[in-house]
């Protein structure tokens, strides 16, 4: 019965529903967009009513919000933290900076394309995205999870070599020094 395709599908549907309604956000403000996370999570916009909640360490977290531009130094930490998170895990890119570099497109210290280094499930545009936009983006993420399409972690594993190569291009020493990394 367990191997029955239909029952498996039903279980997965329920699991995806639960995943979509319980999303623990990693406490990592990587850029300026983090300033709009606190209004989103607190009394005015109250993301907790949709099941969003803070998580202190990557082991407990489900989603990492890349809140804006990523400097090279932060990318290394972000990658490490992302790899320490436990699947299924999601990445949401905030603002133009994660999409194409935004106004920092010519800065020597910020990356331009987040999706070369991490699998991004949802992008939220704006500079910076307002709490309403954040909530809309997170709802989109919920929808994707419910549909079972938020498989960024799997994609990351499949294309690990490619991602690693891209990461190594900007952080040659760091990636080599890190201990055995997770999925």
């Amino acid at each position: 019965m367990y191997n029955d395709k239909n029952s498996k599908k039903i279980v997965e549907t329920i699991q995806n529903w639960a995943r979509s309604h319980s999303i623990w956000v990693l406490a990592y403000g990587t850029g300026c967009g983090a300033i709009e996370i606190s209004p989103t999570m607190t009394s005015r916009y109250d993301a907790e009513r949709l099941g969003f909640r803070g998580a202190a360490t990557p082991r407990q977290a489900d989603v990492m919000l890349i809140t804006g531009y990523l400097t090279v130094k932060t990318v290394k930490r972000v990658v490490r933290v992302y790899e320490q998170m436990q699947s299924p895990k999601y990445v949401v890119g905030f603002g133009s900076c994660t999409i194409n570099g935004g106004m920092y497109y010519d800065s020597y210290n910020t990356i331009n394309l987040l999706d070369r280094y991490l699998p991004v499930d949802v992008y939220i545009n704006g500079c910076m995205p307002r709490p309403e936009a954040v909530l809309a983006g997170l709802s989109k993420l919920q929808q994707i999870i419910r549909e079972g399409n938020a498989n960024g972690a799997e994609k990351y594993l499949e294309n690990l070599a490619w991602y690693k190569e891209n990461q190594r291009k900007i952080a040659p020493n760091w990636i080599a020094k890190a201990p055995d990394l997770n999925w």
Partner: protein, 367 residues
């Protein structure tokens, strides 16, 4: 040889850190023996980018120096350009600027209310004050179109006039805030646990004040009456009547009281500004921005932000691009040498509270 002391990384991914930065703590027991601030996680090289952009493009970039408090950054940029260019600001523009600056100060202090109490585990306060801060952001939104980054004060004035009925809304918001501040006092300052956690903790020794260049609420919390708004009055602060609150003690508690009093003073200032607001032009027009040449020269202007002195050094070599832009934030000295010098001997439990009370703002340090 492995160290005896345990290394604890406070940040960058840590709920207790203010922004994206890191403090490397070496602890023995739960006492800190040494602390080292590491920054650079947010370095976007604004000043370098500015050298590739023209003078008007600057003010969209400059407000992003410090995320929680962007208006003082716009103000120093605008004023430094005005100082080099010899550009005048109409009286109404100055009043509007003061209003914006003081609203920003209130917003910052409300953010600080949340951070300070969040670091001590009183999350209710954070929920309330950030929710209330949003009313100020709504005002900003109506005035400037942006919630966080306003890009409102530019060389020669402000970008837009006050909308219809805006001052009434401001006054209503201030009335509401005054009512709420009483609740905050009950929840936070009257709380004996809050007092126990903050009194005598994170003391900035008076003899270290000069060598560390301490500014802002931290300085006033040590009993020194120093504020750029009276030391070097800019805009129209010399026409306004307000007090500079000071406290003795130099600990988190003293700084908290200073900030609390500052919110009240800001409300008082905004009321005066609205009373005295002259009519007329709110900005002086400037040339085609693509061909705008600022004469050669340099200027250093300062502004009192919610966290202390923010200075801005601008150099022009007489082209359409600035030669050099350089910002000095309050956190630049607070979060590095000062923090490193006062953390040893403190408890791990207090690090986050101390950082919040020093007004640490990571993006301002590395820019």
């Amino acid at each position: 040889m492995r160290e005896k002391a345990t290394t604890i990384y406070l940040g960058p991914q840590h709920p207790g850190i203010t922004g994206n930065m890191m403090v490397r703590l070496k602890v023995i027991g739960d006492t800190i023996v040494s602390a080292q601030t590491e920054v650079g996680y947010l370095h976007r090289a604004f000043e370098k980018l500015q050298e590739r952009r023209n003078w008007l493009q600057g003010f969209t970039l400059m407000c992003r120096f410090c995320v929680p408090e962007s208006d003082p950054m716009e103000n120093v940029y605008a004023r430094s350009v005005e100082a080099i260019d010899g550009r005048e600001v109409p009286e109404r523009g100055k009043y509007i600027r003061v209003m914006v600056l003081e609203l920003a100060r209130i917003a910052t202090q409300l953010m600080w209310y949340a951070g300070q109490n969040g670091s001590l585990g009183l999350y209710t306060m954070g929920q309330w004050s950030i929710g209330d801060r949003d009313y100020i952001l709504d005002l900003f939104e109506e005035l400037t179109g942006g919630r966080v980054y306003h890009m409102y004060q530019w060389p020669g004035g402000v970008r837009r006039d006050l909308p219809e009925g805006f001052t009434d809304k401001v006054l209503r918001t201030l009335d509401y805030l005054e009512k709420r501040l009483k609740d905050y006092d009950d929840l936070m300052f009257a709380n004996s646990i809050f007092q126990k956690r903050t009194q005598g903790v994170g003391i900035v020794p008076k003899e270290n004040i000069i060598e560390h260049g301490v500014v802002g609420p931290v300085l006033r919390g040590a009993g020194i009456r120093s504020d750029i708004r009276i030391d070097e009055p800019y805009e129209v602060y010399d026409k306004l009547d307000f007090e500079i609150p000071t406290q003795e003690g130099s600990d988190i508690w003293a700084r908290a009281l200073v900030r609390r009093a500052e919110v009240h003073q800001s409300i008082r200032i905004i009321r005066q500004v609205i009373d005295q607001m002259p009519s007329g032009e709110y900005f002086n027009k400037f040339p085609n921005p693509l061909k705008w040449i600022v004469p050669a020269g340099d200027a250093y202007v300062r502004v009192e932000s919610g966290r202390g002195e923010v200075g801005f050094y601008a150099v022009s070599d007489g082209t359409i691009h600035p030669r050099r832009m350089h910002l000095r934030g309050a956190a630049y000295v607070h979060a590095i040498t000062l923090l490193e010098s006062i953390l040893p001997g403190q408890n791990i439990a207090d690090v986050s509270a101390i950082m919040n009370s020093l007004g640490t703002c990571a993006p301002e340090i590395e820019r």
